[in-house]
């Protein structure tokens, strides 16, 4: 298992009317080939911005810091033209809403083959053959006919499959999937997730799965990183982070999930509102909502500390972390 992408201290500021606003604040993680890397967190925690930063698709006026090393090359400092060539070929992305992520007026053929022809220099015939292959791979029935169709002729789940086929066309090594199932029916979700999992294993593809749905992550991800207010609060193997979560925020997320074996148990919501980028508290951003808050939490940003079981977490109050820090 080799590390494909290594992100260190990634920072993103977005341009606002009141000056640059930090959205992602020093995020680090590693993604390995053939594995599903899960990035979890509530809306506004900076998950999507992290992904867009990796592809260089941030909105105009955004500034970035830190590094993202893919094959010894730093994505964050690449020049624009070079960066563009990595998109689709090395890092591809599937977006949340399949209804709006495909061009409504272009045929599936055009959308599925234009980057094959541009990036890989295929002829129209080669690209069409590859397109049929791709649609078969993502289980679109009758792929030849589908190529001639337009997005509005397909259901949400089918469109998401087409999006995945488009993303996979140039055989990228990292597939970033931003909430790929959020906009879909539950029954369709499972199919899309199985597809991602199969692709990941068959093609030795690294998948970065961004979601707020911890159920999805615990089923699919090999490692999980939990973000809150632009920072990583806990990360490690899924079994540890999801099964035996230690950080108060992660635990809060897990406790707020419905549990099939304890249907009569009341769900425990996390008190308070998530901190938006404009109003992030000082110190540990979670401290105003935290049951275990102690005075230092409100002033010092807790560092990520690696503890025995292979996880890292940022909580000075946790007894294990406290004992290590001593």
């Amino acid at each position: 298992m080799t590390t494909l992408l290594s992100v260190r201290d990634l920072r993103v500021w977005l341009d606002t009317a009141r000056g640059p606003l930090p959205i992602v604040d020093g995020v680090s993680f590693d993604i390995s080939a053939g594995q599903v890397f899960g990035l979890a967190g509530e809306s506004g925690s900076g998950k999507t911005i992290t992904a867009l930063a990796l592809l260089g698709l941030l909105p105009a006026g955004a500034r970035t810091g830190g590094s993202a090393i893919l094959d010894g090359r730093d994505l964050m400092t690449m020049r624009t033209a070079q960066r563009r060539r990595t998109r689709g070929r090395e890092v591809a992305m599937v977006f949340q809403d399949p209804m709006s992520s495909l061009h409504p007026m272009l045929t599936i053929e055009r959308q599925l083959t234009e980057h094959l022809r541009y990036q890989l220099g295929m002829s129209r015939k080669e690209a069409d053959e590859r397109a049929v292959e791709l649609l078969t791979e993502v289980r679109i029935p009758n792929p030849e006919a589908a190529l001639r169709g337009h997005p509005h002729q397909f259901s949400g789940g089918m469109r998401q499959r087409i999006q995945i086929a488009i993303a996979l066309a140039c055989e990228p090594r990292l597939l970033v999937a931003d909430e790929p199932t959020t906009a879909l029916d539950v029954t369709v979700q499972a199919g899309i997730l199985r597809l991602l999992h199969r692709l990941c294993q068959e093609k030795d593809l690294a998948v970065m799965l961004i979601t707020h749905d911890l159920g999805v992550l615990s089923a699919l991800a090999d490692t999980v990183t939990v973000m809150y207010a632009g920072r990583v609060v806990e990360s490690g193997p899924t079994a540890q982070v999801m099964g035996r979560s230690r950080h108060p925020y992660t635990r809060g997320l897990v406790d707020s999930l419905p549990h099939p074996e304890a249907a009569d148990r009341a769900l425990v919501p996390i008190a308070g509102e998530p901190a938006g980028p404009e109003s992030r508290p000082a110190g540990c951003a979670f401290h105003p909502r935290c049951r275990y808050m102690e005075p230092p939490c409100a002033t010092a940003v807790p560092p990520l500390i690696r503890i025995d079981d292979g996880r890292e977490m940022a909580c000075p109050v946790d007894p294990l972390v406290a004992s290590l820090a001593r």
Partner: protein, 316 residues
């Protein structure tokens, strides 16, 4: 045909009204009575006119003493050449500027383009025409000031009546160059307003499209920016632009009246001006009919293009 008929209705009372005012001129009254039976009740006149129209008879022009349809056939190609050139110029410039403005929203280039487009829309056409003539004809002598060709140049063999196309078809490149020289200034003056209009519309249409996820999808494929702009963004932004281009044919037709007179361009605009001042009613109605037909045809074409551009329209 039903459309043509409805568009004719407002034209017909005008015939009666103006005819009454023209009674100060006994010659005109006599001619009208003889040729059009103005002494008959209005509805009868109307149906007589319609009956003639069905046979392609638009009546006879009082000025030229020829059938109005013959006059129109002579003047339409000149106007068509001018109007089409000006629309094409306005499209090329306006859409390009609009895209540039939208992609550089609120930056310097956007501000400059805003000034240019608002200038184009708010400058009175007659003033622009006179200033353009003064600068490019009188001062710089870059272009000839009037007509479609120099007096010593023979028109190319008649094919479409558009001198630029006919001369190219006949391989007379000197005639082509000469006709372009004559065409360019009036076409630019006529294009100024629409250029500004198209720029504004393109800018807002593109800005709306830019918000869409599929633009990000296109970029995520690593396509070059020009492909993203032309294939993905402009395609999606084209329906509203197309609508306004279609409507612009209307203001171009009114614009020709002024521009053709200032530049001595022998087209429908001049013809209608002469007819209107001479109260040449059959000619006026003929011109109105022509403009209405152009307008309807253009907007029909726009509707058909909607279906080609956006496949979802066919389902609706």
């Amino acid at each position: 045909m039903a459309f043509v008929l409805t568009h004719l209705v407002p034209g017909d009372p005008a015939v009666a009204n103006l005819g009454d005012r023209a009674s100060a001129d006994p010659v005109a009254v006599r001619i009208y009575r003889e040729h059009f039976g103005l002494d008959k009740p209005l509805p009868v006149q109307y149906f007589v006119y319609l009956g003639n129209l069905l046979h392609g008879d638009l009546g006879e022009s009082e000025q030229s003493q020829r059938p109005v349809s013959t006059d129109l056939a002579e003047y339409i190609p000149a106007t068509a050449e001018l109007a089409i050139t000006s629309i094409v110029l306005a499209c090329l410039l306006g859409i390009t500027l609009g895209v540039i403005a939208a992609l550089n929203r609120n930056r310097l280039s956007d501000q400059i383009i805003r000034v240019v487009s608002l200038g184009g829309m708010s400058t009175p056409q007659f003033w622009l025409a006179l200033v353009a003539l003064y600068i490019f004809f009188y001062k710089l002598s870059w272009v000839p000031g009037s007509g479609r060709l120099d007096a010593i140049v023979l028109p190319p063999p008649h094919l479409t009546g558009l001198f630029t196309i006919d001369s190219l078809a006949a391989g007379q490149f000197d005639v082509f160059a000469n006709s372009i020289q004559h065409l360019i200034l009036p076409a630019c003056v006529l294009a100024a307003f629409n250029m500004g209009l198209f720029t504004r519309f393109t800018r807002s249409a593109v800005l709306e499209v830019l918000e869409n996820d599929y633009v990000r999808t296109a970029r995520a494929k690593g396509l070059p920016e020009l492909t993203v702009v032309f294939r993905h963004i402009l395609r999606a932004a084209s329906p509203p632009i197309l609508t306004v281009v279609g409507l612009a044919f209307g203001n171009v037709m009114t614009g020709t009246v002024l521009v053709e007179n200032i530049f001595s361009w022998p087209g429908i605009g001049q013809y209608s001006y002469r007819s209107a001042t001479a109260l040449d009613l059959p000619a006026i109605v003929g011109v109105m009919l022509f403009v209405a037909i152009v307008y309807i045809l253009v907007n029909m074409v726009v509707d058909i293009l909607y279906g080609i551009i956006d496949p979802r329209v066919q389902l609706a």
